[in-house]
């Protein structure tokens, strides 16, 4: 079973909560996917407010899931740290999905600020889930800062392109074999999710791919099945590709009779 900061998690599908047609559809999708962890942003939602948990958040709490607040929309260390601290007050959890955006158009993470913010938050008692790239050195720095989970992208946020550099994902997996790796961004289809799970990744976080699908509830289910399939396959030692055909039954004139 997957363990994140000492907590056993049975579902390997983490769900974002933005951009659904309605909270009711989000609730049905989360239940259909069997999601145990949902991530919520609050940078804009509580800006200038009292920090009071509004109607939308009580619908999330109805789901009986672990809430993973995130710092989406933060562009600096200071903003991200402050948002994390507010999130801790609002949701009563030390978990924080740390996002520090470096480029406002592609939403690429600012890995320098990310490492700095991670260090500050870990020292402040947070359990940090950093949204990062597939860079090995950044991964090391985040682990040095005290992160015990990494959330690399596999393509830019919302791009729906799927794993664009499988070799990089593979080498990151090999580099940190004992750290839970959750693919955080860039997944478009269930086959993409299955592909990264086959590489030995531990879980997948989805938002747009489910929320913006024509039928988010059915898509949530499809992803849950694909993630489960990919995870089973990773443990079942899949065949590696070969350059030539290798028939599964002997062919006359070859091998056995030659």
């Amino acid at each position: 079973m997957l363990e994140l900061y000492g907590r056993a998690i049975s579902s390997r599908l983490l769900l974002g909560t933005a951009n659904y047609p309605s909270p009711a559809v989000l609730q049905r999708a989360a239940r259909e996917a069997g999601a145990q962890i949902v991530t919520v942003s609050l940078r804009r939602e509580i800006a200038g407010g009292s920090g009071r948990v509004g109607g939308f958040w009580s619908l999330i709490c109805d789901l009986d899931v672990q809430v993973l607040p995130n710092t989406a929309g933060c562009h600096s260390v200071k903003e991200a740290v402050l948002t994390a601290q507010m999130a801790r007050e609002v949701f009563g959890t030390n978990w924080i999905k740390l996002e520090v955006i470096g480029h406002h158009d592609t939403l690429q993470p600012d890995v320098f600020a990310l490492v700095e913010a991670a260090r500050i938050l870990v020292d402040d008692g947070f359990e940090v889930f950093p949204y990062t790239t597939d860079d090995l050195v950044v991964a090391d720095r985040l682990l040095d800062a005290g992160c015990r989970v990494l959330m690399p992208w596999c393509a830019p946020i919302g791009s729906a392109r799927g794993p664009v550099d499988k070799d990089a994902l593979r080498s990151l997996r090999a580099h940190v074999p004992d750290i839970p790796l959750i693919v955080d961004a860039g997944i478009g289809r269930p086959s993409h999710a299955a592909a990264v799970m086959e590489l030995g990744y531990d879980a997948v976080l989805l938002n747009t791919a489910v929320a913006a699908a024509g039928d988010p509830v059915a898509m949530a289910k499809a992803f849950a099945l694909a993630i489960e399939a990919g995870h089973l396959a990773a443990g079942a030692q899949p065949l590696e590709p070969r350059d030539v055909a290798v028939p599964s039954t002997p062919v006359i004139g070859k091998a056995v009779f030659s």
């Binding site: 047609p21 309605s22 804009r44 200038g48 109607g55 939308f56 919302g158 024509g214």
Partner: protein, 331 residues
């Protein structure tokens, strides 16, 4: 017999108009002064059920398709039936195909046809979707038009205070107070919406134009006197405080990318409203302790108020005939 309607936003006024049309006596009370309605006066006023279907349930189309006819009948001359134009900036063209896939009632049109429909947008977009069955109105003109029409039919209005003695004379009540009802209705939540009104004489549009973008779909709706309403954000918050810098930037940026001349437009007004919404983002007509309520119109106030007003009026008329039967006053 008179019905007291609490709330003079689009739900309350539509219900008043529907009841008045059926010959029922109505009094309307609202605790705020004019302009009317918190969320309603910030609305876009688009009667666009086919476009809305891209991200809303089927009911929005079923309930909303007659809205333009209803408004036209109540306020002749206020509804403009020029359709809706949907465009996407070059690199977001995939969004246009996606929007087309999820909606009906549109035609894909090319640059020449765009230029015919909206000469000021000539050469700016290679393709667009044209929803020719849709319509729009100016929400503030429509709201005050309803008040004038109702006053001319001897409907009494109480603004800026408790209904006071108004309620004494009324046998029945209807609650159309929008998000204010959330204190009694735990299912109701607020969804913050921010908008801008810009003014420029350099551009004219004959219909609302929606600009698709992966992160924030926005629309620019033409109003009188060279004004344009640009809206609207959707933020899961019931805070009614002033517009934020980021929201304003996003809205202005969208207008600017529709046409660069908006860069020189005047920002006449910024507005914030808190839309009342239920978990499925569909409105409801409820009866609680005999009080009929319309609520949860979300971003579909002008589109769905007519259908909700009809449903609520049916319930109220049943209540009236029940009371008349009991009182023996029914013929």
């Amino acid at each position: 017999m008179t019905i007291l309607i609490k709330g003079a936003g689009v739900a309350g006024l539509a219900l008043a108009a529907e009841l008045a049309r059926r010959g029922v006596g109505v009094t309307v009370a609202d605790c705020s002064e004019r302009p009317l309605g918190n969320a309603s006066s910030m609305a876009g006023g688009m009667l666009a059920p086919w476009c809305e279907r891209a991200s809303a349930e089927e009911e929005v189309l079923t309930w909303g398709r007659d809205a333009a006819d209803w408004w036209d009948a109540m306020l002749p001359g206020e509804v403009t039936r020029n359709g809706t134009l949907v465009v996407a900036p070059g690199r977001d063209r995939v969004e246009l195909a996606r929007f087309a896939e999820r909606t009906s009632g549109h035609a894909v049109i090319d640059a020449d046809r765009i230029a015919e429909l909206e000469p000021d947008l000539a050469g700016r977009f290679r393709h667009a979707l044209f929803f020719d069955g849709e319509a729009h109105l100016d929400p503030r003109r429509a709201l005050s038009g309803l008040v004038d029409m109702l006053e001319s039919r001897d409907v009494r209005f109480y603004f800026g205070g408790a209904p006071g003695d108004a309620s004494v004379h009324c046998a029945l009540e209807a609650d159309c107070t929008g998000f204010a009802q959330a204190v009694d209705d735990p299912d109701l939540r607020g969804v913050r919406g921010e908008m801008l009104i810009l003014r420029t004489a350099e551009i004219s549009l004959s219909r609302p134009v929606r600009l698709l973008h992966p992160r924030f779909p926005v629309y620019v709706a033409p109003r009188r006197d060279h004004c344009f309403m640009v809206g609207a954000t959707m933020i899961e918050s019931s805070r009614a405080g002033p517009v934020t810098v980021r929201s304003m930037m996003e809205l202005m940026n969208a207008a600017y990318s529709l046409h660069p001349a908006f860069g020189e437009a005047e920002v006449v007004e910024t507005g914030v409203g808190v839309r009342p919404a239920y978990p499925d983002n569909l409105p409801r007509v409820k009866v609680n302790d005999g009080v009929v309520s319309i609520n949860g119109l979300y971003r579909h106030g002008f589109l769905l108020a007519p259908a909700m007003a009809r449903q609520a009026a049916d319930l109220l008329c049943e209540q009236i005939s029940g009371m008349e039967l009991r009182n023996g006053t029914h013929g």
